[in-house]
């Protein structure tokens, strides 16, 4: 009595394949090696952020403060170098700031037991506000000559492939290794699947939750450095943008359930590819801004509706927190 069922990952992959096929046939200049690299390059930072978000979402959390971690520590690097500090010292400071930020998030969620949505909403505002009030002179922190050479993190190519794609690939490998090959990764899945059962079995849930948020903040900081290197500046105002929704979109579209315990790096990659293909195709077609939003919305709705048709919810498997 087995029915053929598609999960969301497969549905989204089908959407991606369909989009890709349609663009390849009808859009001149889409299916070229150069354009494929551009497509990937444009969503590399989004992909890295998706990986960071995936870690906490798999552990049944969410990190709304991710964009603050992307903007503030890397912005601090640029600002410190501009003020005459050395690059290594600035990088170290930024890393310590990211770790401290992750620890605060983790502590609030694991020990103070504040729901992750509210905790990170508040801490994100706090960090962004701190940056604006105390760390940066201007919203856009400009590149200075002390940073020369560092832009290679986000610009240029290695073996013909843009560096930011390599960075995404490296991040994918690191996160995949963490989630699939280490005991900590297995714990994250266990906590995401059933936090109470995980605790009863003797998994150190609280330290693992703290660890998740520290790693997420560090990956966010890394994504920020790649972004800053890629555009030669750090527009810290990006915290006020809707980027965080795009990140959540990548994760959810890729099939990592917000109820935790499911999905992996592959899901993020698929989610990122769908968004990248859509953006790239629409830019080539020179579709207006409003039109692009409309199409994005329709595609997302289609994916979600198809999923709920093929995998109808039932009272027994639904969990609180399912979206």
């Amino acid at each position: 009595m087995k029915r053929i069922r598609f999960n969301q990952q497969e549905i989204v992959f089908a959407v991606f394949a369909l989009l890709f096929l349609v663009f390849s046939i009808f859009l001149r200049g889409f299916l070229t090696a150069d354009n494929m690299l551009t497509l990937l390059q444009n969503v590399a930072v989004l992909g890295i952020l998706g990986l960071a978000m995936a870690i906490v979402v798999i552990g049944r959390g969410i990190d709304i403060s991710l964009i603050a971690a992307l903007a503030v520590p890397p912005g601090l690097v640029l600002q410190m170098v501009q003020n005459g500090h050395s690059l290594p010292a600035s990088l170290l400071t930024a890393m310590l700031l990211a770790i401290a930020f992750g620890l605060v998030n983790g502590w609030l969620i694991a020990y103070a037991e504040v729901p992750s949505l509210f905790a990170t909403l508040a801490t994100g505002l706090l960090l962004a506000g701190l940056g604006q009030a105390a760390l940066f002179q201007l919203d856009v922190v400009q590149w200075s000559s002390g940073m020369d050479g560092f832009e290679r993190l986000g610009q240029g190519t290695i073996l013909g492939i843009p560096t930011s794609i390599w960075m995404f690939a490296i991040a994918c490998i690191v996160v995949a290794f963490l989630l699939r090959q280490t005991r900590w990764g297995a714990y994250i899945y266990a906590i995401g699947d059933n936090p109470y059962a995980a605790r009863v079995t003797g998994i150190p849930s609280r330290p693992i939750i703290v660890l998740q948020y520290v790693i997420t903040a560090l990956i966010g900081c890394f994504a920020g450095l790649v972004m800053a290197a890629s555009v030669n500046s750090m527009p810290t105002r990006i915290f006020n943008s809707t980027l965080i929704y795009d990140v959540i979109l990548v994760v959810v579209l890729g099939g990592i359930g917000l109820s935790g315990g499911r999905g992996g790096v592959l899901n993020v990659v698929i989610g990122t590819l769908v968004i990248g293909t859509m953006l790239n195709g629409m830019t080539i077609m020179d579709i207006s801004y409003a039109g692009q939003n409309l199409i994005k919305g329709v595609v997302l709705l289609l994916a979600v509706i198809t999923d709920s048709f093929l995998n109808p919810r039932n009272e027994e498997t639904a969990q609180q927190g399912d979206i």
């Binding site: 200075s144 555009v231 943008s241 020179d286």
Partner: protein, 338 residues
């Protein structure tokens, strides 16, 4: 000459006598009759400043420039930072109307939101000066860039650079809701109407976001490697546009025109590095001094707020490789704040 010869001599003689008697007279001095009322008109007055957000070169520059000019006269400042939130800005203006500052310096997020409020403010006896982004209501003074002109001059630069080349250009707009972006686009259209040979291969909004501008430019350049020019709408965003051009190895081949407040790191240094070929600057310190001058004039004149209305469009400085090295072309925020 002869007729006036003798009176002149007489005058010299009188002056000579006066010079001899001068030490005695100078001790009494002569009161200049207008300076005291001027000082009284300014001392203790409040100027309220409502920018769309602080923390970027334009709004920080205006504020520093205004303070430098007016604080020595005992003028007090209050800032209401709208922080990119139109509602917060409208609330700030509303509450300021009841607080009754002498002058409001307002940076509009769009044409409509504050228009009625500003009219009310002037009816209540507050002078309203609008900076760089005007509203539909014309207040005592508008100081700022003519966005249509900026669009026109940028496009003219790009069209000129395209002569004998592919004639393919791209336009990177700001946010669609922003009046500055729409006005600039109008300027671009004005020039393009005269040049039917120019083909716009892409015209997209990048939301004032450098990363988005870079992504769009990269895709456009891959599709049109023979692109000859890009009209960008703000240098803070077009740093991404320029990064995409540089990565494609097309710096110098694709003419990048943009505009901004002329802060050194964001403007002159990027023109020098070749990232931008033309940056239309609306020189923020000059705008700040013009505003300060207008405030001094309005306060000392005692005219009824709203009874006179005028505009001071900024004289634009086109920053190119020729003048980017000149110390006077750009300004440093840190120096202005001193």
């Amino acid at each position: 000459m002869k007729h006036i010869g003798s009176p002149t001599k007489a005058l010299v003689a009188v002056l000579g006598l006066a010079a001899m008697a001068a030490p005695a007279l100078a001790q009494q001095g002569l009161d200049e009759p207008f300076q005291k009322p001027f000082k009284e008109a300014l001392a203790g007055k409040t100027v309220a400043y409502v920018p769309v957000a602080m923390n970027f070169d334009l709004t920080e520059g205006w504020y520093a420039g205004l303070k430098k000019e007016l604080e020595p006269f005992g003028v007090k400042f209050v800032i209401r930072d709208a922080n990119w939130n139109t509602n917060a800005g409208a609330q700030a203006v509303t509450s300021l109307i009841s607080e009754k500052p002498a002058v409001m310096v307002v940076h509009n997020p769009d044409v409509q939101t504050y228009a009625k409020l500003l009219q009310r403010a002037e009816n209540e006896g507050i002078y309203v000066i609008q900076i760089n982004m005007g509203s539909a209501y014309r207040s005592s003074a508008f100081v700022g860039a003519n966005w249509v002109e900026i669009g026109e001059r940028q496009t003219e630069g790009v069209v000129k650079a395209c002569e004998g080349k592919s004639n393919k250009i791209a336009i990177i707009q700001g946010a669609l809701s922003a009046a500055a972006s729409a006005y600039t686009l109008k300027g671009v259209e004005n020039v393009l109407a005269k040049h039917p040979e120019i083909k716009v291969v892409s015209s997209q909004a990048a939301d004032w976001d450098a990363a988005k501008a870079k992504a769009i430019t990269q895709t456009v350049l891959k599709q049109n490697p023979d692109l000859c020019g890009i009209v960008g709408f703000w240098d803070g965003m077009d740093i991404g546009t320029a990064a995409a051009v540089k990565e494609a190895g097309l710096t110098g081949k694709v003419f990048v025109a943009t505009s901004g407040g002329g802060e050194r790191k964001g403007a002159c240094e990027l023109v020098k590095s070749g990232a931008f070929d033309l940056n239309m600057s609306y020189d923020v310190p000059t705008q700040a001094s013009q505003m300060a001058g207008t405030i001094k004039w309005l306060l000392s004149s005692g005219v009824k707020p709203g009874s006179i209305k005028g505009s001071e469009y900024t004289t634009l400085i086109p920053i190119t490789k020729e003048n980017a090295d000149n110390q006077m072309t750009c300004w440093n925020l840190s120096d202005l704040k001193k």
